[in-house]
Point group: C2
Chain length 398, copies 2
């Protein structure tokens, strides 16, 4: 039993929280209850929120820990994939080491769970997956979900279909996909392969989709239809889905309706230079939207830092969110909604919930998004893993 | 004489810098020179850059220091102006106090000069200006330039023309303007008034322009033409100019050419939800682009924090800048280019330059924009005003 005293909840209540066996055991008005003898942490009125869930990272791609690597430009996604493969061959630091650096950076920022895509291609095969599976075994500070991600396409590099299937067999949690039209130029073929693998293993999917406008929306409706047909309702996500931000009302409505019916969730990182899915309109249409960092100092972008509170701000900034309710929605994308999309339990501060918790000096969720204060405490399943921006515990070193 | 030793310059050189009478007196290879007896600060290889110049803030609008104020939404700029005036009447903290809080926040972030607009309208008259003029007198850590800003329009509230004229007489540095079409519905009248005041007093202009598309571009060309006619070449800026991000190539080309010829500078804060001026294309066309924070926790937006390095990141993010040269351009907008637009001398690290300097742990400008590390040292005219994020000196308290 541990007690967190003087916590401020999002609804304004001041409470003491009892934690036992990694879960929230009690929530009492501050100072009302006694947990005589239990170790106590006084939060001094800090805002207590659920741990952040980063719905989209690439643990294997990060260059953290290496000297700063200048970006190597490419004009198309295909060119950028080629540039990344060049860079990858030159790196002195292995996947596991770089991924560990990333985790050490984001745990003190309050991330307690994440979904990472991991490249599967003919060149690296399953080696990235193996490295991340090993890292996952020794990591306690953050839950890790792994998506087998065909970064170099499937139909244009045929071995990949078998590799994806093997990846799921070896422990990847979901099947990934990538621009069935834009990269593979074969929507039927690409979706056929990944849905078959998902069905065979009974796992979900998370598909990267950058294809624009009406093409991207048509692919979204294909994905929704296959989700229904495969009985995977609620277990499929599409990451990016820029197309939803650049079509007319009719096209948007048709697509949002199809996504809502198949419970296909949409991940956004609030992209800078391209259209982004309109968050309020999607939520109003019944579509689950959740948030992720995407690139954190990697071959695709040097800019990300993995701070999900800053990501909520960025999404708010791009969506013209200013009112408290809007800032709360942006925050929700990084916590409750992303936990839901990942099928995790840590979805709020209630008795029985997993004690993945973050405290920070702020009077409200809206103020937290606006000010982005340092996280004073990060707790993973009832263990304090970081304080005041300093990592205390990642897990057991391999 | 003060010495900064072991500084890393943007070009990679390791140097020792001698500072005397507020200026850079010497730049020598690290450890080559002796400044025997002079007070020495060892920068330990930190990157040394010119102080940030925030080209657009609203010192009088910030709500910093007050409890977090929920945003009051408005559907149009006119409605938001009305909401702001309501809020302003209820505030318990005066302009000078809130502005001081903002300065105390941004000096440790490395801002050593700023341009602030200050509301002039029939309700507040010149009271905001007077408060900021008093604050300027007692502030040493940051240079303050003031723009007399007709936030409530000119032609629709006729007293304002005389108030703007009086504001310049009492110490404002530039004449402001606001959406001659969108707010005043009188481009000829609005521009006529502000250019006449500028000419009469021999001062420059900085005009807010949110008007969209071809209308905004037409107004930009009107401003450029009047700039030439008034002999104010190089002394006029337009803030925001969203229109430049949402017109066809012909319209863009005509407008950029007119701006370049009249040396009208464009200020951008890398806005989130609206089109933004395309930075590379404008620079290629010979137009000076510079950066500012705009709203920092005020009635217009709760999100800004005044960190110009984060602003450079945001501009890079919106403009799809990833390569080192692009990140350097974004950084340049916040330092050299904004100093130039404001007519300031502190435009680089060279012998004779004003010693407005910032040090931070980074290997290069690109890495600094990507990582946004804490500023380890901030120097204003040779005096250390902040270290490791902590303000040491704002100036003399009034």
């Amino acid at each position: 039993m541990t007690r967190l005293t003087n916590a401020r909840l999002a609804d304004g209540r001041r409470v003491d929280i009892g934690i036992s066996e990694g879960r929230i055991a009690s929530i009492d008005s501050a100072c009302a209850a006694s947990g005589a003898g239990a170790p106590t942490i006084d939060l001094e009125g800090a805002l207590l929120v659920p741990g952040f869930v980063d719905g989209h990272v690439h643990l294997d791609k990060t260059l953290l820990g290496l000297p700063f690597q200048p970006h190597r430009p490419g004009d198309s996604i295909a060119e950028r994939i080629a540039r990344e493969r060049e860079l990858r061959r030159e790196l002195s630091s292995p996947v596991g080491e770089r991924a560990k650096r990333l985790i050490d950076q984001i745990v003190p920022l309050g991330t307690t769970a994440l979904r990472s895509h991991v490249d599967i291609d003919p060149e690296v095969g399953l080696s990235g997956l193996h490295a991340l599976l090993r890292l996952r075994e020794t990591t306690r500070a953050v839950d890790i979900q792994l998506v087998a991600f065909p970064q170099s396409g499937i139909m244009i590099s045929p071995d990949v279909a078998d590799l994806l299937d093997a990846a799921i067999g070896e422990g990847a949690d979901l099947v990934g996909g990538l621009d069935p039209a834009g990269i593979d130029n074969d929507v039927e073929g690409h979706l056929g392969v990944i849905f078959r693998i998902a069905e065979r293993h009974g796992v979900g999917l998370d598909i990267h989709l950058h294809d624009p406008g009406p093409l991207g929306c048509w692919e979204l409706r294909q994905i929704a239809a296959r989700t229904l047909a495969a009985g995977l309702v609620g277990r499929v996500a599409v990451s990016h889905a820029f197309a939803l931000g650049a079509v007319d009302d009719g096209e948007f409505g048709r697509t949002a309706e199809a996504l809502a019916r198949a419970e296909v969730a949409i991940m956004t990182n609030g992209p800078g230079p391209v259209p982004m899915p309109p968050v309020r309109r999607l939520v109003a249409a019944g579509v689950r939207v959740f948030a992720g960092s995407d690139n954190i100092r990697d071959a695709w972008s040097p800019l990300g830092d993995g701070d999900m509170l800053a990501r909520a701000m960025l999404i708010a900034y791009r969506q013209d969110f200013r009112a408290d309710a809007d800032l709360e929605l942006a925050f929700d994308l990084t916590t409750r909604a992303s936990a839901g999309a990942l099928g995790l339990e840590n979805d709020g501060i209630r008795v029985g919930a997993i004690a993945d918790l973050v405290a920070m000096p702020a009077g409200s969720i809206a103020e937290a998004v606006a000010a982005r204060p340092r996280r004073s405490l990060v707790m993973k399943r009832g263990r304090v893993v970081a304080r005041d921006g300093v990592l205390l515990e990642r897990g057991v070193d391999a």
